[in-house]
Amino acid sequence: MKFIVCVKQVPDTSGKVAVKADGTMDRASMATITNPDDLNAVEAALALKDANPEAKVVLVSMGPPPAAGMLRELLAMGCDEAVLVSGREFGGSDTFATSQILAAAIAHLGLEDDDIIFCGRQAIDGDTAQVGPQIAEKLNIPQVSYAADLTLRGNTLTVKRMLEDGYMTIQTHTPCLVTCIKELNTPRYMTVRGILECDQKPYTVYDYETLKDEPLIEPDTIGLKGSPTNVYKSFSPPVKGAGVMLEGCGKETVEQLFAALAEKHII
């Protein structure tokens, strides 16, 4: 029994973001964090492991070598193993190609009947929420997204799946994939013991050589060449024409505001 968690290291977009002259993101100059929803996915897996101590929690991340630091922290939270999928051939992947590679890595690990894959709902850099469902499709297993609660009995998983106006209770069976939202749980902290032990835990890098015989890996399904979508143009968001800063903050100012709104037929 394995709980596989897909995690991503992302630029911390809550701070200032550096944009290069050509309109692309200057990732090197930005701080990185573990994608917030992915921490909920890690916690979901660790909580199930608490109840099923024989299970293993295996992290899978695709990204450049610095993602090792994030994986180490997650091992220190209590995960058992980590796999970093990294290689030049994988660069430039869109969500289709990324999910193809992650699915291949999971197939390489070996997906068994009682395994569950956890992903965060979406990553804060791309915000697409596409990689989880696409991994499920490529592994031909069921998915449940937007999980806010879950229980596992035998190989039956029951999930509270959030909708905008309520929720659905969905039942499925393992192996399956679940995408997690922050309402699901509160991620635990690293422990001192975890920090001391994390360097002894199995840590593997999968590169193109490792995965090239996986049926999902073909030159035209991975990397830039295997990505159906391409960036055509990118640019800084429009800056709105300067608005009017009103003088003062008293009654006259507010009256002036409402007069302007009335004049422009806004109210």
Partner: protein
């Protein structure tokens, strides 16, 4: 599936909108997407089709015509009554492979964001999430770039015959805009967030003229690996932020007297016939429920008037409200970034300014 070849763009024609219904009720986003799809179909000179799935939903189809659909494909079956990833993906991919549309638009609802990626992966095509602007016509795309970017559009080379879909979306939490294309595979798919596209008025003549076509549904037990045990509508009256004409949002700036801050926002919203929204800081603090949140991880709104009380204007917040027609910001910090997005800014204490606004609004 093996016989489905999708690398010849010329074999694909037509613009489709996946029309979501829940318990027999169409989603307002369907109308927004059809209105946008209508423009694309007109630019391409092709049909606009709605794709409607459910149990006994044929009766809803004509209404979709009123928002622009020339034709609505209806797939009905008791097993489609509730949304399930497996059944909906199978049925949609079957119809798409059969009819070969060039564009498929899906609302970025919690259901659309589950369904879209699964379908795109099965069809082996691209999907662009949360698009805020769509173009097929090159001249129109150039106009769009000129009006929203500082790019030297006239100095750039464009293929004037390109009829591919140019899908523009915010990236990196709104720090960048990117136009994405899907040149080699069809259909070109994108999701669009609720409230982003403008809804055209309902047209009865179009509704009457709309062709409703039933499509066969073929589902097998092995296609259905999830079971819906129950669907629960939360009893709380969800705020209708997306459709609101006026939104009065509060942020962390109300912290020194939360109760009074909320009262003021509600009073101002009531007077202007609007609703109350919130920044994430206000939601995280537990002052308002999550369905009030505006922004990247909340809702996208474009009301006639957006009033921000005590909101700093983080990029993630602006991502959800910057297209509002008129933005009014009240903040005690003259350097708050919200003022960069505001049409009218007042530097001051919201606890003093908001009551005056209520008073003025009542007088109007």
């Amino acid at each position: 599936m093996s016989t489905f070849v999708n690398t010849d763009p010329n074999a694909f024609r037509g613009v489709w909108v996946f029309c979501e219904q829940r318990e027999g009720e169409l989603n307002p986003t369907d109308f927004e997407l059809l209105s946008e799809g209508r423009k694309l179909a007109d630019d391409l000179g092709v049909e606009l089709c709605g794709l409607l799935l459910g149990d006994d939903v044929e009766g809803l189809a004509k209404e979709l015509g009123g928002y622009g659909a020339d034709r609505v494909y209806v797939c009905q079956d008791p097993r489609l009554a509730h949304y399930t990833t497996d059944a909906y993906t199978k049925v949609i991919c079957d119809v798409v492979m059969d009819k070969k549309p060039e564009i498929v638009l899906i609302g970025a609802t919690n259901i659309g964001r589950d369904l879209g990626p699964r379908c795109a992966a099965r069809l082996h095509t691209g999907l662009t999430a949360d698009c805020t602007h769509l173009d097929v016509d090159v001249a129109k795309y150039k106009e769009f770039l000129k009006s929203t970017s500082t790019l030297d559009v006239d100095g750039m080379k464009f293929d004037e015959n390109d009829r591919g879909l140019k899908m523009t979306r915010p990236a990196f939490g709104g720090h960048l805009m990117a136009t994405i294309i899907c040149p080699r595979f069809r259909p070109q798919m994108s999701t669009v967030r609720p409230g982003v596209m403008k809804c055209a008025p309902f047209d009865q003549a179009r509704a009457d003229a709309c062709v409703v076509e039933l499509c066969p549904v073929s589902l097998d037990v092995s296609d259905l690996r999830t079971r819906v045990l129950e669907v629960v509508k939360e009893a709380k009256t969800a705020v209708d932020l997306i459709g609101a004409e006026v939104v009065v949002s509060v942020g962390h700036g109300i912290s020194k007297d939360v109760k009074r801050g909320l009262e003021l926002a509600q009073a101002l919203a009531d007077t202007l016939h609007g609703v109350v929204g919130a920044s994430r800081a206000a939601v995280d603090a537990g002052w308002l429920s999550a369905d009030h949140q505006v922004g990247q991880t909340g809702k996208t709104v474009r009301p006639r008037i957006y009033i921000a009380l005590g909101i700093s204007g983080a990029i993630q917040h602006k991502a959800g409200m910057q297209d509002s027609e008129c933005i009014i910001a009240v903040n005690s910090n003259p350097d708050a970034p919200i003022f960069e997005a505001a049409d009218y800014g007042i530097v001051g204490d919201l606890f003093q300014v908001a009551p005056l606004m209520v008073e003025c609004a009542r007088g109007n």
